[in-house]
């Protein structure tokens, strides 16, 4: 596993690595369209229920939302340094930055978990489950978007954490050589992690900061 195998349908290793990156970007392109569907529905319902969305969003904690934004941004920085360490062949540094990225990702989910617990305790749930304060309009619709969008984003973070654990195991097993697979794999997972960060960059103002 330490030496990268050149598959028969590629002329050189560089071309093989570029093809892997192209595949990752193609996946991200369809993820963009997947999340866009949610953002579009959000835009339509927000224009249909303007007062609902403004009243309901005030039930969220701007402090926790902003804190979580910073946690994810720092995790992206750490992920970028992981890719750099992998390219430079610095195995221990790679494992350390991957672990930091994963720790920040866990921190994000823990903070999100506290927020969810607070919403559930106050009956701020989607659709017919809503039993919270009598806010103007249809807060049940706002919370359907809130849980749907942050839930799908959280699922992406969870998948990212599993991928990071897999990479950390690879780095610790000493599979990192400049000609091996690991640097390209770290870069691919990095692209995914940064994309998940970008989704949150848009969710944060739309859910927490609307006025």
């Amino acid at each position: 596993m330490s030496e990268r195998a050149l598959q028969a349908h590629f002329a050189q290793l560089e071309q093989q690595a570029e093809a892997a990156k192209l595949g990752m970007w193609t996946f991200i392109a369809q993820e963009v369209l997947f999340f866009f569907g949610l953002f579009l529905t959000y835009a339509v319902m927000r224009s249909a229920y303007p007062r609902t969305f403004i009243a309901a969003h005030e039930q969220l904690s701007v402090v926790l939302g902003t804190l979580n934004t910073c946690v994810l941004l720092i995790s992206s920085f750490s992920m970028a340094l992981s890719v750099r360490a992998a390219r430079l062949g610095a195995r221990k540094q790679l494992a350390a930055f991957l672990a930091l990225t994963a720790a920040l990702g866990c921190g994000f989910l823990v903070i999100k978990g506290f927020e969810y617990a607070d919403h559930i305790a106050h009956g701020m749930l989607p659709g017919a489950l809503y039993s919270g304060r009598g806010l103007p309009g249809r807060p049940d619709i706002f919370f359907a978007f809130y849980f749907g969008m942050t839930g799908l984003h959280g699922l992406h973070v969870l998948i990212g954490l599993a991928l990071l654990a897999w990479l950390i195991a690879g780095a610790l097993r000493g599979k990192l050589t400049p000609r091996g697979d690991l640097p390209d794999t770290v870069e691919g997972v990095g692209l995914y992690w940064h994309f998940v960060d970008i989704v949150w960059i848009f969710l944060y103002p739309l859910l927490y900061l609307i006025r």
Partner: protein, 115 residues
């Protein structure tokens, strides 16, 4: 191969991008407390686009990666624009403010939308 291995972005560039991202986050949070009437959503989205562009260009290396990768992202954004445009054409003539309607009146929503 060795060329590829040594061509890494300096840590300083990543650190500057992180600093810019955190400043922009503080800015967008601060602006939201100014209670701008109609501009707030536009400002928030412009800041989000700026942050996303920084992540894509530097963290995801798109500023120096192969052009075909930029083309893939451009295609996705083009499709987003087309789908948003078509949906806006469908939605905007419908005077869609449902807020005064009682809950659970989906029939009334439909009647209003299809009028």
């Amino acid at each position: 191969m060795t060329e590829h291995a040594t061509a890494v972005t300096p840590v300083r560039s990543y650190a500057l991008v992180l600093a810019a991202l955190l400043v922009l986050t503080g800015l967008t949070a601060g602006v939201s407390f100014l209670h701008l009437k109609h501009g707030s959503m536009i400002v928030a989205l412009l800041i989000a686009v700026a942050k996303a562009s920084l992540v894509v260009a530097i963290f995801m290396h798109l500023h120096k990666d192969a052009r075909v990768l930029r083309a893939v992202l451009a295609l996705a954004l083009f499709l987003v624009a087309v789908l948003f445009g078509l949906s806006a054409l469908d939605w905007s003539p419908r005077d869609g403010d449902f807020e005064h309607l009682p809950a659970q009146s989906s029939v009334a929503l439909q009647a209003r939308g299809l009028k």
